[in-house]
Amino acid sequence: MPYRVHCMVCAGTGCVSNRSLDVRDALEKELRKRGLEHEVQIVTTGCNGFCAVGPLMVVQPDGIFYQQLTTKDVPQLVEEHFVKGRPVQRLMYTPPEAPAPIPKMSDIPFFKHQRLIALRNRGLVDPEKIEDYIARDGYQALVKALTQMTPDEIIEEITRAGLRGRGGAGFPTGVKWRKVREARGEPKYIICNGDEGDPGAFMDRSIFESDPHSVIEGMLIGARAIGARYGVVYIRNEYPLALERIQIAIQQAREYGLLGENILDSGLDFDISVTRGAGAFVCGEETALIASVEGRLGDPRARPPYPAESGLWGKPTCINNVETWANVPPIILNGWEWYSQIGTERSKGTKVFSLVGKVRNTGLVEVPMGITLRQLIYDIGGGIPGDKKFKAVQTGGPSGGCIPAGMMDQPIEYVAPDGKHEARDYLDLPIDYESLTEVGSMMGSGGLVVMDEDTCMVDVARFFLAFTQDESCGACAPCREGTKLMLDILTRITQGHGTMDDLRALEEIGWVVKQTSLCGLGKTAPNPVLTTLKYFRDEYIAHIEAHKCPAHVCRELNTYRIDPVICVERGHGCGVCRRECPEKAIFGEKNQPHRIDTTKCKKCGVCVDVCHFNAVIVE
């Protein structure tokens, strides 16, 4: 009996952790109970991107989008939708300001503005079945590349398409492939960099989880173009599900003869091995990654020689990010003209962002280049929860920068065409500080942390610097010592002991660390600090001179006060805060306004949390 309905249950890490697999099992049991198991097929797919509302399911062919499902909803869902054919309103997604739920997935704003190329198959294929991928024109690009194109033509196609590295540096992929192809040395290697060390970034993970074969096909095409013999997928050990899916995909590809010797009788010999990253952020840097794959200590080394000439085992190696590889098959299949229409003049195609932080629809989105922050945050992201004021967005993780609300309408795209940050003279450091981001270029690796008024920019800078400082390999002095000293200064500032010279010191050390560090980690570690200094200097000054943290995040700078009116009228002096205060710094009687003794108060903020009536005011 052919299926008449396909239930696409999301099995990305987000939904799985929300127990979407239990929902699937309940669904299966219910369908069998109702005798519908032959009519309704259940398909577990990769991550659909809308993690905020997981676990979610899309019922095809109707395209109905159900979200936040629990096992309890299943009987009703089966009864109503599958038996009676009536979609269940209650389980649909209703955007905050919208009057009614939106049944069709394609109408939901989160999905509508997206343009899927790297994530074209997400939610539509079972990642653990190669047949699903082949059904959606899987490996057709490879066939075209092997039979109708010469390696040079492939490289030409990629170059003309304007594809650039999605890892963060944005180096033109075509140029890189050309260099590795022309480098001397056999065998050649290509590496898929799935280290993704940035905190809060999970683009690569969801590509692996929802459509691993697109990465494999991309690498095959790259191997053909470059003449590489071996491929390595370097994936974080902290992505167990993604690791399992890519390994299954590689195994299936081998069984189907798409990996190994004489692939599709084309003479191409190519195989992929998987190496697991041991959790060091620095191993995202290409030379450190190579060292890690070779089993050595994952420390970066001086360049030149660049990996294109002497990389893995000293042979020419091409390292690209997961998303870059995933973009290759569509370009080859549809041609470079189709691809170059998408995005802006300098940044072609789409970019996958992991939208996190203070935004309603946190999740994974793939949007065309040139989209503005406003569209991203409000149209797709569903705005800031609690209608707090949008303050800034942090892109590119610890190597990226903070973009203030003011630049919300600038299109997101790559930095200056030659891919190198523009270095500015030390002399004009304090005044014109465009060194980091040129107007209109805010791209990073893809992590997008939305921050609202309650976020203290100094604390954010400290958080990211603490991360890079801890992850620094310690081989070269500036990065090892510089990041530590800057961290000490920032910590002092957040504790209210900062001085104005500290700002000067931060800039000077930051500049030296950026200029003289050996590898990318050191060169970009100061960025969060330098950008927050540039756009939110006032907050720093508030911390230093006024000893106040505008966002009340830096606890040492807060002073806690109880509003006598609210305390009595609404709280009747209930005394909850008095009991809970660990320092016994709150005094007052029943029905009397309570008072905090600021000398004893350790500013732990417990009273704020326990007071039901928000009587405690933080200045």
């Binding site: 060091a280 620095v282 200590l297 001086a302 030149p304 200056a416 030659d418 190198k420 523009e422 270095a423 500015r424 003279d425 030390y426 002399l427 400082q469 801890d470 992850e471 620094s472 390999c473 310690g474 081989a475 070269c476 002095a477 500036p478 090892r480 010592e481 510089g482 530590k484 000293l485 000490d488 010191a505 000077e508 050390i509 500049w511 030296v512 200029q515 003289t516 560090s517 050996l518």
Partner: protein
């Protein structure tokens, strides 16, 4: 060749030269810390930062490891460069304020007072500043890779694996040599594997054995030299002007044809550690005679001074005779020389440590030589206490009431008939003289038999002590039996005289009793070949006959009897003669 512009000066440099090398060629000074000529540039300290012009602005690169490119414009004196070097230095000073090499660099770069102080600040002037030169030299040059890093970031430290003594370390001292801050020190206190009795301290990989060594040229010790272990280093090759160092040289076997051989292979010292009661090799300050000879030697490790292990002179010394000699379970014979050198030790120790008390434990004082007895009485007058009695054992004093470190010598004083226990600081054992370890193999090599005590057997103990039963083979010195220097010299000259006599005569007489093979009847069955103890019969494959080398044949006749074809005649005792004797003997009833 590529052209580069350094500080405005155009310069042609070969492909692959680094900016630092090019600059130094133009004697443009660029400060460096972690750079070292022997090592591959690493770029850890970043002090050698220079400014390279880029099409849209500039870039700061490290000079030590950036290769020059065609048309590269390099500036080493811009504000950016100075600022970058100053701040990098300040960062390092924040962590290691008192390291002299950093302070000296700070003076050069004009950094007066470091502005920052790191939480991990280390005031030690000899702190490790993580320049990693040590790790790199151990891996790249020495090839032992004995040290590496632990942890990462600010907590990264240079350590041996698990902070334990690394087996891979060959104690070559290379790391100590390149360490910028002398953080790594090299104390030669733990020598590696030198036999105690010869050297009391370690030697470097290449050394002159002793000042009076003949020939007085340096020698490479393959165990200590790291080239043999790791195929690396070879610094000695580089520095030797005369280019005389060659690691490939090995022992060569040279074959010389000689008429006569004098075996003077000498003796070996009995390994006293077997007699555990004396604690040699177990207790400190218990030395064998040869150790003391080394110590007393002016060119020895202690420069002639008699010192204990802790470097102090001894207060009391015990000398024990007949260790292993005149002893049923070891050597039954008397080693003849120990009594006299024991007295020599007593005299020298008295001379070198006047206040030291010397006790000499003997069974019978054998001062038999010319002037020996007079020396013995002189030593007695110098106050050496002589105790007649075989020492039972030497124990660590710590177990009994006296303080730690002194040794107790327990023995039966047979002259006064009482058991005595004498505390001393140092014990000297007069080990027996025993045949060389390979005496058995050498004897068989020369067809020489050995007397029951293992020394080579002379032809006649009284009448012909230097010759052996084999003509042309002579033996002299301790190889024939323990004896002191005068006797050895006498024997040596006797043997030399005997050999010269034969050489002078020019002809070697051999007595007529010989065997000879009649090649007419010999069919080369080779039955006789293996029989001859003197391997005098050789087989000529081309003529398919065997032939007797009359010089070697002693005429024993074994082969004559054995030859199945009757082809060998034994002159003086041939078959017909013997048959005639038989007929004669049995003719009469």
């Amino acid at each position: 060749m590529i052209t580069v512009n350094i500080n405005g000066v155009e310069r042609q440099v070969p492909e692959g030269t680094t900016i630092l090398q090019a600059a130094r060629a133009l004697d443009v000074s660029i400060p460096t810390l972690c750079y070292h000529p022997w090592l591959k540039p690493f770029g850890a300290c970043r002090i050698c930062t220079v400014q390279v012009q880029r099409p849209r602005g500039y870039e700061l690169l490290t000079a030590c490891n950036t290769p020059c490119e065609e048309g590269m414009v390099i500036r080493t004196d811009t504000d950016n460069v100075r600022q970058a070097r100053r701040v990098v230095l300040e960062l390092m000073l924040a962590r290691w304020p008192n390291v002299p090499v950093l302070q000296q660099l700070a003076a050069e770069l004009g950094v007066e007072k470091p502005r920052f102080r790191s939480e991990f600040c280390d005031e030690d002037p000899e702190a490790c500043i993580l320049c990693l030169r040590c790790v790199r030299i151990c891996e790249e040059v020495v090839g032992a890779s004995a040290i590496g890093y632990e942890d990462r970031g600010i907590k990264r430290r240079v350590v041996t694996p698990f902070n334990r003594e690394s087996e891979a370390c060959v104690a070559c001292g290379a790391c100590a040599q390149v360490c910028l801050t002398h953080h790594i020190k090299f104390e030669p206190e733990d020598y590696r594997g030198k036999p105690p009795e010869f050297l009391l301290g370690p030697n470097t990989a290449i050394f002159i054995p002793t000042p009076q060594a003949v020939p007085k040229v340096p020698r490479i010790d393959p165990e200590a030299c790291i080239h043999f272990k790791t195929n690396g280093c070879q610094k000695c090759v580089e520095v030797c002007e005369a280019k005389a160092v060659n690691h490939e040289m090995t022992d060569q076997e040279i074959e010389i044809e000689v008429g006569q051989i004098l075996l003077a292979t000498g003796y070996e010292l009995f390994d006293a550690s077997v007699m555990s009661q004396y604690g040699y090799g177990r207790l400190d300050n218990v030395y064998s005679a040869l150790d003391i000879e080394r110590m007393l030697n002016a060119t020895g490790p202690t420069g002639g001074r008699v010192l204990l292990k802790n470097g102090q002179p001894p207060r009391a010394v015990a000398i024990i005779h007949c260790v292993g000699s005149r002893d049923e379970n070891y050597q039954r014979y008397c080693s003849r020389v120990c009594c006299m050198y024991a007295l020599k030790f007593a005299h020298l120790i008295k001379e070198r440590c006047p206040e030291a008390e010397v006790y000499d434990f003997y069974i019978d004082m054998r001062a038999f030589g010319k002037g020996y007895e007079e020396f013995y009485s002189r030593v007695l007058h110098e106050g050496t206490n002589v105790i007649r009695g075989k020492v039972a054992e030497v124990v660590q004093a710590g177990w009994s009431k006296q303080d730690e470190g002194t040794l107790l010598v327990r023995c039966e004083d047979t002259l006064i008939g009482r058991f005595r226990e004498i505390p001393v600081d140092m014990v000297i054992l007069c080990n027996a003289i025993v045949p060389q370890r390979d005496a058995e193999r050498v004897a068989r090599l020369f067809g020489l038999s050995r007397s029951p005590d293992g020394f080579f057997l002379e032809r006649h103990p009284k009448l012909d002590p230097v010759a052996t039963s084999t003509d042309g083979l002579f033996v002299a010195g301790c190889a024939q039996g323990p004896k002191d220097i005068p006797d050895s010299v006498a024997q040596a000259s006797a043997a030399a005289a005997r050999m010269l006599a034969t050489i002078a005569k020019g002809v070697v007489e051999i007595d007529p009793v010989r065997a000879e093979i009649n090649e007419e009847f010999c069919s080369g069955c080779r039955v006789c070949n293996a029989l001859c103890p003197y391997s005098a019969i050789e087989y000529l494959a081309d003529k398919n006959v065997s032939r007797v080398n009359s010089a070697l044949c002693k005429g024993c006749g074994t082969c004559v009897a054995a030859c199945p074809a009757g082809a060998i005649t034994g002159y003086g005792f041939n078959d017909r003669q013997i048959q005639a004797e038989l007929e004669g003997l049995l003719a009469v009833r």
